[in-house]
Symmetry: C2
Subunit: 197 residues, 2 copies
């Protein structure tokens, strides 16, 4: 069910976003997480309210990598299989200062298959190849006020994408995420960097 | 055995390095992976040949996260349990251009416990907290010529550390790593970014 919804969302396109207000300043190219001079927002929306696919998010700050393997989920995990999750570097700097997600925070989740289950370092799950779409969440208190301030987007090869109209992302994050719609309970990197210990 | 050696190395200190030649230019602070103007080496060695603990490696470019859980390794994995692995951003830029590890490449591995085995997204392994020392490998064709050009370091809370005199790191990487002493077979991020497909 979750998987079905996830991939269905990847097919959605050109649907008007929930809210068109609160245009963010465009800034897609990655900057150093230590570059405090760069405080422009990363999320870039076009006039139709679609989010531009974030460029170079693999160079953002990594926050964690759960794995939901096929062989532990009847061959059909909701998100197969490793989840590599990143936060944009400007919001990372803000998080380190405040322990909060600023307006404009972007979090990207990319999926990687399990490539093998044993290696020189023992038994376990070892990464294989990229699979499936890229999921991106954006905090925007004006644009996404009706969905707890976050919008959820799923990119296939699209250059821009509308927010998911399906409510499954919002509902799951609202019910299960530890802090401000984000699963900080799994993001060791964020917890360790927060000034709110 | 592997675990024993790993932690033993964390206790080593102030032992003269294998080679003192090839002093690298100091540059520890992180720079943007997209900042092509910054091509100084990151590895910083002191006069005794000890490597300075790399600062802010959690802001380097993430390359992969295998997991060797306790419950799949008789409670004693060599490296418990998630391995979060990063490459320094200057060497990442070089890798993207060439598909090779430049002299001065640093790769850091940090360990994270398994915090839980089920979540809203299914069954699997979900990250817990940081555990154990930080392992860092440095490519230096002069300094580490005798060990296939790479030196291996394990940091507890040390500010500087000598290269491991124990040969287990070198031996395992030499036998099992796919490319130039690096386990690229598990680093999806590196493979995808290499111009050598």
């Amino acid at each position: 069910m979750l998987q079905h919804r996830f991939f269905r969302k990847a097919l959605l396109s050109s649907i008007a976003p929930l809210l068109l207000s609160g245009m963010l300043v465009a800034q897609i190219t990655p900057v150093s997480a230590s570059d405090h001079g760069h405080h422009k927002a990363h999320a870039k929306f076009n006039k139709a309210g679609e989010l531009a696919r974030p460029a170079n998010f693999r160079e953002w700050v990594f926050i964690g990598a759960p794995v939901t393997p096929k062989d532990m989920n009847n061959d059909k995990p909701a998100f197969p299989e490793f989840h590599y999750v990143y936060i944009d570097p400007v919001s990372w700097v803000h998080w380190k200062k405040t322990g909060e997600f600023r307006d404009g925070t972007m979090i990207a989740k990319e999926l990687v298959s399990v490539g093998s289950k044993s290696s020189a370092s023992g038994s376990g799950y070892f990464p294989g190849d990229y699979v499936g779409p890229v999921a991106v969440s954006v905090k925007d208190t004006k644009r996404f006020a009706k969905s707890s301030n976050w919008g959820y987007f799923v990119f296939g090869d699209d250059k821009a994408q509308s927010a998911a109209t399906d409510e499954s992302c919002v509902a799951c994050h609202k019910t299960n995420a530890a802090k401000d719609m984000v699963f900080t309970q799994y993001w060791t990197v964020l917890r360790a960097a927060s000034p709110k210990k």
